[in-house]
C-alpha cells in the first residue's frame, strides 16, 4: 500500500543573484513495509529530497502527500505534530541528547510524540525496543560512554520507539565501519519488516543496497532510474 507520494516536487535555492534548481520535478511513491534507498553522486539532491519529504523544509513546487494528506498545505505546527508522532529520523551522526541516558532518550521521544501509553507501558516499550537494537545492557549509559555503532543503534531505537509510519535515514552508516554498517542496515531492514513501516534512506554505499527493496538513482535533481 502506498503511503507516501511525491508529486512533481521542485526545489529552488537562491544564492544571492543566482537561482539554482536543485530538484527538477521529482515523482516517487513509497510502500508500507519496504525500504527505499536514494543513491547518486554527492550534490545530486538526495538530502534535499529527503528533508522535503520529512517536512523539514518546504518544497518550492509540487506536492508531498502523506497518508492521504497534502503536507505542503499544512501549517508548520501541523507538520511538527506529524514529525513528532508519525516520522522517525536517523542521520549520519546519532545526535543523542548528551545529558540523557539511553533509556531517557527513548522516554523523551515517547514524550515528544505524546504517546498515550502509561508510564509502565512506556518502560516496557523501551525495554522491548532496546532488546531489538541489542542495547538493553546499556540502558543507563550516557552517550559519551558509547561507541559510534552503539550510538547509532540508540538513534535508530529513538527513531522507532513511538511506532512511526515512516523512517527517514540520511546516510545512517556513513560514520561507521563496514561491519557496523551492515549491522545497522540489517537492523533497519528488520525493523521495517517487523513493524511494517516505510523507510526512505539515503546512502552512498553500494554494499548497503542488498538490504533494500527499491533503489532510486538520482542525478542532478532528477530521478534517473527506479528499480528493485
Amino acid at each position: 500500500m502506498t503511503i507516501f507520494t511525491l508529486d512533481k516536487v521542485r526545489k529552488t535555492f537562491t544564492n544571492g543573484e543566482i537561482e539554482e534548481e536543485i530538484l527538477k520535478g521529482i515523482n516517487l511513491s513509497l510502500k508500507e513495509g519496504e525500504v527505499t534507498a536514494l543513491v547518486g553522486a554527492s550534490g545530486s539532491g538526495k538530502s534535499t529530497l529527503l528533508t522535503i519529504a520529512a517536512g523539514l523544509q518546504p518544497a518550492s513546487n509540487g506536492q508531498v502527500i502523506f497518508d492521504g494528506n497534502n503536507m505542503t498545505a499544512m501549517s508548520s505546527e501541523e507538520v511538527r505534530k506529524i514529525r513528532a508522532s508519525k516520522f522517525g529520523f536517523v542521520f549520519q551522526f546519532a545526535h543523542l541528547v548528551p545529558f540523557l541516558t539511553v533509556e531517557e532518550q527513548l522516554m523523551l521521544m515517547l514524550d515528544v510524540s505524546e504517546s498515550r501509553l502509561s508510564k509502565q507501558a512506556r518502560k516496557a516499550e523501551v525495554n522491548k525496543i532496546l532488546l531489538l537494537v541489542e542495547m538493553d545492557h546499556k540502558k543507563n549509559a550516557y552517550p559519551s560512554s558509547l561507541s559510534g555503532g552503539e550510538k547509532q543503534r540508540v538513534a535508530i531505537a529513538r527513531a522507532i520507539i513511538h511506532e512511526p509510519k515512516v523512517l527517514f535515514a540520511d546516510e545512517p552508516t556513513a560514520s561507521l565501519d563496514s561491519k557496523r554498517s551492515k549491522d545497522v542496515m540489517s537492523l533497519i531492514q528488520n525493523i521495517t519488516k517487523t513493524l511494517n513501516i516505510t523507510t526512505l534512506m539515503v546512502t552512498h554505499d553500494e554494499e548497503m543496497l542488498s538490504y533494500v527493496d527499491h533503489v532510486i538513482k538520482m542525478s542532478d535533481g532528477i530521478v534517473l532510474q527506479s528499480g528493485d
Binding site: 511538527r80 505534530k81 514529525r83 548528551p98
Partner: protein, 344 residues
C-alpha cells in the same frame, strides 16, 4: 520527563558555578540594602518612626529646618485646631557625663505629644545606645550652655538622628541652650498636604527626609549600588544561558527535527533558571538574615523581611528576562542546519 532537571544533574559543576555567582551577588545585594536601611535608620529613625503626616517649616528657612522659626501665634493656631499636632525642634549638641566625657547627641524638644517623649524641666531621656557609654538612669549630665543639670530619667530604643543618639529635653531647657523661643517644625499626623498656613511650607514625610543634609546623598549612592547589582545579576543570567544555548544549538536543532515544541525548550530554560535562583536566594536570604541577627550592635545594619522579599522577586523577574532574552536564539534555530552540521 523533566529534561531541565536531568541536565542540571548531569552538568552539576556548570550549574553550581552559576548558582554560586547568583548566591554571592544576591547576598551582596541584601547586605548592601540592609546597610542602606540601617544607615537610614541611624540617620533619621526619629523622623522615620513618625506616622504619615505633614511637616511644616517657615518658608524663609528655604527648606533648611535648622533655620526655621515658627511664629508662636501660628503654632498656637495649628495646635489648637488639630489636637494631635506637635511642634518640635532638633539641634545637634553635646552632653558631658560626670567624668566630663563629651557625648554627641541630637537634642529634641517638643510640645506635649504621644509622638515624642515629654520630659520635665531638668530631666532627660536618652537613646539606649548611650547605655553602652556607661550612662545609667539617675546619672546627672551637663551641657556648657545650660545653667542646670539633666537627670537621666530613662532610655528609648532606636531613636537616632543624623547618626547621633537622640536626647529628649524639656522645651524650656532647649530654649535656654539654643537661645531661641520658637520651635523649628510642626508635625500634623495624617494631615493632608492641601492644608496651607501662611508663611509655612509643608512637606510629606519623604520630602522632609530629603531636606536632611547627607540623608539623600547616602541613600542614593547605596540604592544605586543595589540596583547595579540587580542589573548585573540579570546580565549574568543572560550571558550564562546565552553561552549554554550557543553550545546547544545543534542539540536544539535535532530536538526540533524530531518534533519537540519550542515552548518546551523555553520551559526547560525557565525551570533551570528558577531552580538555580530559588536555591541561591534561599541561601542568601538565610545568610543575610543570620547576619542581621549577629551584626555587631554598633553596625548600622537593618534588613527587613519586606525588603528581602521585594528584592527576591526582582531577582526572579530579572533572571527570567535575562534567560528569555538569550533564549530568543532558540526560536530561530532551523532543524535542518543542525542535521547538516554533523555531530553535536
Amino acid at each position: 520527563m523533566n529534561i531541565a532537571w536531568k541536565e542540571i544533574k548531569k552538568n552539576k559543576v556548570r550549574f553550581l558555578i552559576l548558582g554560586s555567582i547568583v548566591f554571592l551577588v544576591s547576598l551582596l545585594t541584601f547586605i548592601i540594602s540592609g546597610l542602606a536601611n540601617g544607615l537610614s535608620q541611624d540617620n533619621a529613625a526619629l523622623i522615620k518612626d513618625l506616622p504619615k503626616g505633614q511637616f511644616y517649616m517657615n518658608k524663609d528657612a528655604e527648606e533648611t529646618y535648622n533655620l526655621s522659626k515658627i511664629d508662636s501665634d501660628i503654632q498656637k493656631e495649628i495646635l489648637n485646631k488639630q489636637k494631635d499636632a506637635v511642634a518640635f525642634s532638633i539641634q545637634m549638641g553635646f552632653l558631658n557625663d560626670k567624668d566630663d566625657k563629651q557625648q554627641s547627641v541630637a537634642f529634641v524638644a517638643s510640645t506635649d505629644s504621644k509622638l515624642f517623649k515629654n520630659v520635665k524641666d531638668g530631666e532627660i531621656i536618652l537613646d539606649s545606645s548611650l547605655k553602652n557609654k556607661g550612662i545609667k538612669v539617675g546619672d546627672t549630665l551637663t551641657n556648657n550652655q545650660f545653667s542646670g543639670e539633666f537627670i537621666v530619667k530613662g532610655f528609648v530604643d532606636q531613636k537616632k538622628y543624623s547618626h547621633a543618639p537622640v536626647a529628649y529635653i524639656n522645651m524650656k531647657n532647649y530654649q535656654e541652650i539654643y537661645r531661641v523661643m520658637e520651635m523649628q517644625l510642626i508635625f500634623t499626623p495624617g494631615g493632608d498636604s492641601s492644608k496651607e498656613f501662611t508663611g509655612l511650607q509643608s512637606f510629606s514625610n519623604k520630602d522632609f527626609l530629603n531636606t536632611i543634609p547627607s540623608y539623600n546623598a547616602e541613600q542614593m549612592s547605596l540604592n544605586m549600588i543595589v540596583w547595579f547589582l540587580v542589573v548585573i545579576s540579570g546580565m549574568l543570567f543572560a550571558i550564562f544561558f546565552y553561552m549554554m544555548n550557543v553550545q546547544k544549538v545543534g542539540l536544539y536543532g535535532i530536538l526540533k527535527a524530531i518534533g519537540i515544541k519550542t515552548s518546551r525548550l523555553f520551559k526547560m530554560m525557565w525551570t533551570q533558571m528558577l531552580f538555580i535562583t530559588i536555591i541561591a536566594l534561599i541561601m542568601s536570604i538565610t545568610l543575610s538574615q543570620f547576619f542581621n541577627m549577629v551584626a555587631p550592635e554598633g553596625m548600622p545594619f537593618h534588613l527587613t523581611f519586606e525588603t528581602t522579599a521585594q528584592l527576591s522577586i526582582v531577582f526572579l523577574i530579572i533572571g527570567f528576562i535575562g534567560a528569555t532574552l538569550s533564549g530568543m536564539q532558540i526560536k530561530k534555530i532551523e532543524p535542518l542546519q543542525a542535521i547538516q552540521q554533523g555531530e553535536a
